[in-house]
């Protein structure tokens, strides 16, 4: 017996693309792309755990829920701007509440020369043509269900461009805020980011929630870093405890381009983060570092895929996972060194800490090498706190919970040591400590 596909999975009132009003509707190519992606999503539904990419993340419970598409009240939802403030981050800011752009909370005046920062909704309503390539993509695999959904229904997001040779002095902040509505919402954001040749950008992505809600958000982000450009990307995910957040990123690096990513995942009930990075130009370099700290019944799944496709490229990936109570963490790090990518250097380390006998972490580092003279190393561990260290701290007067938090924070600390923004680094450490039970 073959499984019957779910009837229009979990989006209420959604029959076809014409029943949804989205920015950019009426442009034939965009309507077509949206319609086809929606049809593909409806036909195939959500992947189950037989799909390799979803082996450890079951979507059955999510698939049985119902969500409302978008939030008509988004423009007036009450959000305290203070909640968007991050130390050391005082540059331009683009804010989205329940998936919709909020000019009143954003900071877009006096943008530095060479920086374009606009909401996607605005770009689509004027001239979507420059985004045709990015937005007319078709996703072929059932495991891409959320990308299909996003491609069909995203009407807003970030369009960010840094002109060649431009060094953006202050960090640019992207805020994705979830806030309660009349019911459970599904919202979708599509971000397109491009750094021209030799450009430099410090980007801070912040997922935040002020009050409890159970929304589903999908965020698809394409980043292109052209030759010789440099990107610092810090991501703090502090979404509502019971929310679902699906993020998918692609990152393309040109010759001598350098991208550094620092991720701290704290919030959400069900969180999935896919990053597909391609080192396309010679001597491109990618550093990814991340931590998830989970408690309660949180489920966070990080899927990292890095392809070395050019000569003398380098990638360094350092990821840590901490799971307490009944939480479940998943990490998959796949590195491919393609044929011809000689002289590449790839390192992947994933260490995990289980703080409870009921917590679970699944980790799977993978390495495929088709080139010559490659230096590659990968390793993964799952362990517990060192009882000797715990006793040592307690014997000096630190209560059990404090000693445990101190050791857990120490376990994660090395990951953020390379984050250049000192105030933000400090904030990451504090947020991490605050999240420990």
């Amino acid at each position: 017996m073959s499984p019957t596909p779910a009837p229009v999975p979990f989006i209420d009132g959604l029959r076809d693309i014409d029943s949804v009003r989205l920015a950019g509707s009426g442009h034939a190519w965009l309507d077509t792309a949206r319609r086809e992606n929606l049809e593909a999503f409806i036909a195939a539904g959500l992947p189950d755990t037989r799909a390799e990419a979803w082996k450890y993340t079951a979507l059955r419970a999510l698939g049985q829920r119902r969500f409302t598409h978008g939030d008509p009240g988004a423009p007036t939802r009450n959000v305290d701007p203070k909640e968007l403030v991050l130390p050391g981050v005082d540059g331009p800011r683009l804010v989205f509440v329940n998936g919709a752009f909020r000019a009143d909370l954003s900071r877009l005046e006096a943008l530095p020369a060479g920086l374009t920062l606009q909401p996607l909704s605005m770009v689509l309503s004027k001239d979507p043509e420059p985004l045709r390539f990015a937005l007319s993509r078709h996703y072929r695999e059932t495991s891409d269900a959320f990308a299909r959904l996003n491609a069909a229904l995203a009407g807003d997001g970030v369009v960010l461009r840094v002109a060649p040779g431009t060094r953006v002095g202050k960090p640019v902040q992207l805020c994705f805020v979830g806030t309660p509505a009349e019911g459970d919402l599904a919202w979708h954001l599509r971000n397109v980011i491009e750094l021209g040749e030799g450009a430099e950008l410090d980007l801070v992505e912040h997922h935040v929630s002020n009050i409890a809600h159970k929304h589903l958000g999908t965020v698809v982000t394409d980043i292109v870093v052209h030759d010789g450009a440099r990107l610092q990307h810090a991501l703090l995910q502090n979404a509502a405890e019971e929310s679902t957040l699906i993020r998918r990123g692609s990152l393309h690096l040109g010759a001598k381009a350098h991208a550094a990513l620092h991720v701290l995942e704290l919030g959400g009930a069900l969180v999935r983060h896919d990053l597909h990075a391609e080192l396309r130009g010679d001597e491109a370099r990618l550093d990814t570092r991340g931590v998830f700290v989970l408690r309660g019944r949180q489920h966070v799944d990080t899927q990292l895929s890095i392809r070395h496709q050019a000569l003398n490229t380098a990638s360094e990936s350092t990821w840590r996972g901490v799971a307490d109570e009944r939480a479940h963490g998943v990490f998959r790090g796949a590195i491919v060194v393609a044929q011809g990518a000689d002289g590449s250097d790839a390192n992947l380390s994933n260490k995990n800490l289980l703080l409870s006998g009921l917590a679970e972490i699944d980790t799977k580092p993978e390495l495929e090498i088709y080139a010559d003279e490659v230096k590659a190393a990968h390793g993964a561990t799952i362990g517990q706190l060192d009882e000797r260290a715990l006793f040592y701290l307690r014997s000096r007067g630190l209560p059990y919970a404090e000693a445990r938090a101190l050791l857990t924070a120490a376990f994660c600390r090395s990951v953020f040591a390379s984050l250049p923004n000192e105030s933000l680094r400090e904030h990451f450490s504090e947020a991490l400590l605050a999240h420990l039970p």
Partner: protein, 257 residues
């Protein structure tokens, strides 16, 4: 201050302490000597509350409280300090940060105000006069990459900052050369006071040349078999543990090891 009566303890199902009785008063320095396996380190671990040590009989009263019912951190706040034989390396935890967190945790438990970073810094400078630690070690991760001597000095420095009522030195002399030993002993001597007591656990008499004990006890097969003043340590040095063994058959087998 400390009253141990008929203490029996076992580790992994094996009886180690078999009826140990000892009283320590404020200001006193007691040395506990004995051959390997006599139960010296077990005594330190039981007193400080390490997991895996099961007390099967007897009692320990510290400052009027039943020590054995307290968590390790509560014992610390009550004024007990264990200088570890093998101080633990804790990567990622800054030495100074840790010490301030520990001191403030103790103060909080005692209902005393916590020290801010300026007050703490002042305290550290003061205590560095007692036990010299380089700036570099202060700012490194706890014990990480420290030499044997640096680790032991760090233990004594912590003791100086935490100001315990009773300090247990567990084989603090092990692995130290003579210069390091003297430095550590100087630190300990500077901390001697009429209201602070020490329990110095050691295998060798050597340390007692520099930290002069008021009482020396010989621990054998889980019990104190001989007590005396500092001259007892000298006799042990001269005659070896066999000298006690001759008078106590229980020790005879161990003394030949």
């Amino acid at each position: 201050m400390l009253k141990i009566e008929n203490l029996h303890a076992r580790v992994e199902g094996k009886d180690i302490l078999k009826g140990l009785t000892l009283t320590v008063n404020p200001g006193e320095v007691h040395a506990i000597m004995g051959p390997n396996g006599a139960g010296k380190s077990t005594l330190g671990n039981v007193l400080s509350g390490r997991d895996g040590y099961e007390v099967t009989e007897g009692s320990v009263i510290f400052e009027g409280r039943d020590l054995l019912t307290l968590e390790p951190e509560e014992r610390a706040a009550a004024g007990l300090f264990l200088a570890f034989q093998y101080p633990v390396e804790i990567p990622g935890v800054n030495n100074t940060y840790f010490l301030r967190a520990a001191l403030n945790a103790q103060r909080k438990q005692r209902g005393e105000p916590e020290l801010d970073s300026m007050q703490f810094l002042k305290l550290v400078r003061e205590k560095l006069k007692i036990m010299q630690i380089s700036d570099e070690l202060l700012h490194r991760a706890v014990n990480e990459g420290f030499s044997g001597g640096e680790k032991k000095r760090n233990e004594i420095f912590q003791m100086a900052v935490l100001e315990p009522k009773l300090a247990i030195l567990d084989e603090t002399d092990s692995g130290l050369d003579i210069d390091a030993l003297k430095q550590v002993a100087q630190g300990v001597n500077a901390l001697r006071s009429p209201d602070r007591a020490f329990l110095v656990i050691t295998h060798y008499q050597r340390l007692l040349d520099y930290i002069e004990p008021d009482f020396v006890h010989v621990l054998s097969d889980g019990r104190i078999v001989e007590s005396g003043d500092k001259t007892l340590a000298l006799k042990l040095e001269e005659h070896g543990y066999a000298w006690i063994a001759d008078r106590d058959p229980a020790l005879a087998s161990e003394a030949r090891v």
